[in-house]
């Protein structure tokens, strides 16, 4: 008999085994939900899938009586555009700081200490300051996301820039390259796939800041909605919303990883 460490499941088995925990989770939920609903049909804690479906149809395909919007799509659009804008700003600033501090000793020496300190400030603690300074509007939420993840991206890019072999930088100089040519032609293109990776890693934190900001001060958005309906114990809305947010997070991550493979095929291999 083979040692268990050498056993590798076949492709079909792998897929089935991978799906098994999900199936179990759903099964456990259905059993629990049925049991509670059998005792009290008005129970709100574990709604059945059909109840959730009805609520979502109402949210997604019937205009709201108060505003006339399709709330689900409105929420999704607001949240995604806030997240996208915040992450985009963070990526641009992080890239600039990261490349400059990673490549130029003068920048590194003057910026690294402050970057370290800023990255230690808990961004959520800055939220009240943002509300006071820029108000409760869109800008405060976008700024929170940007402030929250810029230090991470900047430090990651700085490290990646320093990882580019010195040989390449010396080589470029022996080919006659000046500093800006090295930055733009040698370092920047090699950092772009790393930037996408850094963005993927920082999206988790991005969602956290988005939902936190929406929960505190907003009039729409996925985070706003789940915190709003919490008052009515509307688990039939909260649970699908959480699932939807999870799916969006997965989708964005997947698309970014595909983008990386598509645009930078050379970066999938070890550097030569």
């Amino acid at each position: 008999m083979k040692k268990i460490i050498n056993h590798k499941p076949s492709r079909t088995t792998s897929i089935l085994l991978g799906l098994l925990p999900f199936a179990l989770l759903i099964l456990v939920y259905i059993i629990g939900s049925d049991a509670r609903l059998a005792i009290n049909p008005n129970d709100k804690l574990l709604p059945s899938f059909s109840q959730m479906g009805e609520s979502m149809v109402r949210m997604a395909f019937e205009p709201s009586k108060r505003t006339g919007d399709y709330l689900f799509w409105q929420d999704t659009l607001s949240s995604l555009s806030r997240l996208a804008l915040g992450v985009l700003i963070a990526a641009c600033i992080g890239l600039l700081i990261g490349v400059l501090t990673g490549a130029l000793p003068f920048f590194s020496i003057s910026f690294s200490p402050i970057l370290t300190v800023i990255s230690l400030v808990p961004p959520l603690a800055l939220l009240p300051i943002l509300f006071i300074v820029v108000g409760l509007g869109e800008i405060s939420k976008i700024t929170l996301i940007a402030i929250g993840i810029t230090p991470f991206i900047a430090r990651d890019i700085q490290r990646r820039t320093q990882e580019i072999p010195t040989e390449q930088l010396v080589k470029a100089q022996t080919l006659g390259a000046n500093t800006s040519q090295i930055l733009i032609r040698v370092i920047l293109p090699q950092i772009m796939p790393k930037l996408i990776d850094a963005v993927r890693l920082s999206l988790g934190a991005g969602w956290l800041f988005l939902i936190a900001a929406e929960a505190i001060a907003s009039t729409d958005g996925l985070g706003y909605r789940i915190f709003l309906v919490r008052r009515y114990l509307a688990m039939d809305v909260i649970l699908p919303y959480v699932a939807w947010i999870t799916f969006l997070a997965f989708l964005v991550d997947y698309l970014l990883s595909k983008l990386n493979q598509r645009c930078f095929p050379w970066s999938q291999e070890i550097h030569s």
Partner: protein
């Protein structure tokens, strides 16, 4: 006047002396191979010529003036690895080298300039035998092809001096022989002055026109780094010269690097006697 003059140069890191009292003159067009044990200063010497390390003692002169203290286009380099840009195709690697010659912010070439650069790059890649792989990326190339590309990149800039830092160390013996032929050919064709660091004494003996052996002259067993290495042999070499006895002598002298294998030989010998 000699092109490169080393006047009593040395290199120290704190109390560790790497290189000391090296005195040599190099004329234009020589092909010098540098051999010696690891940590014997041969790569340090190369880095001094390259300009990324300075001498702590003495003077290193290029055309009678102190050598520039940063890399520039007159001294090309090929490292053992990481010498090419992984994000550019073979052709673009060489075109980019051409673009770097232009003093602009990005070094991008346009229009006529780009066309000329492309022609020159293609011709250069043909010389090194890469014309079949113009559109491939470095990660799709074998080790030998990558080094060919690195050489093409360096040569398109028409350097006076070509520095090779163990360029063939990671290649198979057969491919290495091809690369030797290529380097010799390019050296003659482009009238280069070549410095090549190598671990392989045989390569050093038969490839260049002049051989330097780096070794320690003085030893202090209690403080192995108190004395640095220097150039102990400076010989004219090359194809056709009868240098077998000398080869063996030097081989024996720098052999102790391979203490482990020497021990194995000793063990094997004792076993044989029994």
């Amino acid at each position: 006047m000699s092109m490169i003059q080393a006047k009593n140069i040395g290199k120290r890191y704190g109390h560790d002396v790497i290189l000391e009292r090296a005195n040599v003159n190099v004329d234009e067009g020589e092909f010098i191979t540098l051999v010696g044990a690891s940590g014997c200063g041969k790569s340090t010497f190369l880095k001094m010529i390259l300009g990324i390390e300075g001498a702590t003692d003495g003077q290193l002169l290029l055309d009678g003036k102190p050598i520039p203290n940063e890399p520039s286009a007159d001294r090309g380099i090929v490292f053992q690895q990481y010498s090419v840009f992984p994000h550019m195709s073979v052709l673009n690697n060489v075109i980019a080298a051409k673009g770097f010659q232009k003093a602009s912010i990005t070094g991008h070439l346009f229009g006529k300039e780009k066309r000329i650069a492309k022609e020159q790059a293609t011709a250069m890649l043909e010389q090194v035998g890469l014309s079949h792989a113009l559109n491939r990326y470095p990660h799709e190339l074998s080790g030998g092809m990558r080094q060919r590309l690195a050489i093409a990149q360096a040569l398109i800039c028409k350097p006076r001096i070509l520095l090779l830092d163990e360029p063939f160390g990671a290649l198979d013996p057969g491919i290495r022989a091809d690369m030797h032929a290529l380097v010799l050919d390019l050296w003659r064709k482009h009238k280069l002055t070549v410095f090549m660091v190598t671990h392989d004494l045989k390569e050093g003996f038969y490839l260049g026109s002049r051989l330097w052996v780096f070794d320690k002259v003085r030893h202090d067993p209690h403080s192995p780094n108190a004395y640095g290495a220097s150039i102990t042999y400076d010989l004219p070499v090359g194809v056709g010269k009868d240098s077998k006895p000398l080869y063996e002598e030097i081989d024996n002298q720098i052999r102790p690097i391979l203490e482990v294998s020497m021990n194995t030989v000793a063990v094997a010998e004792t076993l044989e006697k029994k």
